[in-house]
Amino acid sequence: MNTKTRLTGLAVAALALVGCANLPSVAELNQITDQMVKASFRTQAHVNVERLTQTDDTNRLCSEADASGQPLDEKVAKAIEETNLKAIRWPSNGQFIGDWKRGETIAQSGRGLTWTDDPKMANGGNCYNCHQMDKAEISYGTIGPSLYNYGKIRGVSDPSSAASKPIVEYTWGKIWNAKAYNACSNMPRAGHMGILTEAQVRDIVGLLLDPKSPVNQ
């Protein structure tokens, strides 16, 4: 007796078709995949299955592009970036730069949002998983570019000056919603997806742009 969940509708028809030599079409395979996902994943603790079954267009379109091996159409990519840019929430108090010491702690922490995490605890930014930042930290990843001397390289000696404004805003925006600047970026959308709070994002911007931050020494 087959105790595993049975595939329904189109999936069964498609698999029956598979008795013939050819594979189902791309669209049919996409359908089979979606149904298999629904049947295989479940909600656990505070992690709802909708995180996967109802993911947004940004993720859906980029996933399809990745799987096909073809880059996203330029117009589609631009549209995704605009949608994400419009969704950015800028600092409610107009303050972009926070405390770099707290920012370092947030960047070091990988806590939060897995089914074993305590939802009452503060989430971390996971930043060192992918990026180098403070030179003293040798345990850094290379999935993303090095951010060592981030502010220094960009000539930000006074983050509150008018000259620094574009960089400061870009930095906030990139952390809040990385896809606003690169549709299929590998980087999470820390603010937009509720990973980090406004205050936490502010502290990370401080880590990157405060001239006194170890990142800029």
Binding site: T33, R51, T55, T114, N129, I138, G141, N186
Partner: protein, 266 residues
Amino acid sequence: MRQALIPVALAMVLGASPVLAQKTASQGIDEYRAMLQDGNPADLFEAKGEDLWKQKRGPKNASLEACDLGQGPGVIKGVFVSLPKYFADTGKVQDLESRLLTCMQTLQGFDPQAIAKTSFGSGEMANVTAMATWVAAESKGMKFNLSQSHAQERVMYEVGKRLFFMRGGTHDFSCASCHGEEGKRIRLQDLPLLTKNPGDGIGFAAWPAYRVSNGQMWGMQQRLNDCYRQQRFPFPGFASDATVALSVYLGVNAQGAASIAPAIKR
């Protein structure tokens, strides 16, 4: 303590100066990993798995010696590097752990859904892991050679590919976020590129493995489960179709890679 077991070399690594540390951190970790190779606790699980296979157990009080893992009843040698594959008796593609559940059900009378819901490392789930460890050990050194001759195997490869690139969860991660590019690492952990053969004993060819850091024996199902957990995805059912499809994708890509399972990891 009369007999110190902390290796001298490890103490040297811990004392490395931060100035030189960037160059030697990777070397130090490689040295530590080399030291771990002698005396893999996976041997303990392997021995346990072999005993469980031959023991009369379950409501039907039968052993698993008649279990067909793909090359006929009771054939163990070589099956690990041919899984997942299509099985005519269940009409579906199955990986090792899913197939063990099938046999535990049909031969011994166990409830596979109850086992699938049991936490890793406890009860019958721990027994499945032990048996998977033993079965894998019987193919140690052999090259992966998954079949793509059955139509369902080819469909599962395509589904597995889509799963590999499927972004989701709060962090928009897909498998490819970490395993989609050559030469990347997360913190100091090197990440193999899994869209092609990453080499002998790497990726798909390195599990089941004993993890020293938490003293746990992990099969491929648990490895996938923990990847998904860290991706902030919802919970993948044990031996669910999605996990099998993903394994087909990884296993077919690993064609020709030699298995080192059961391995030992930090």
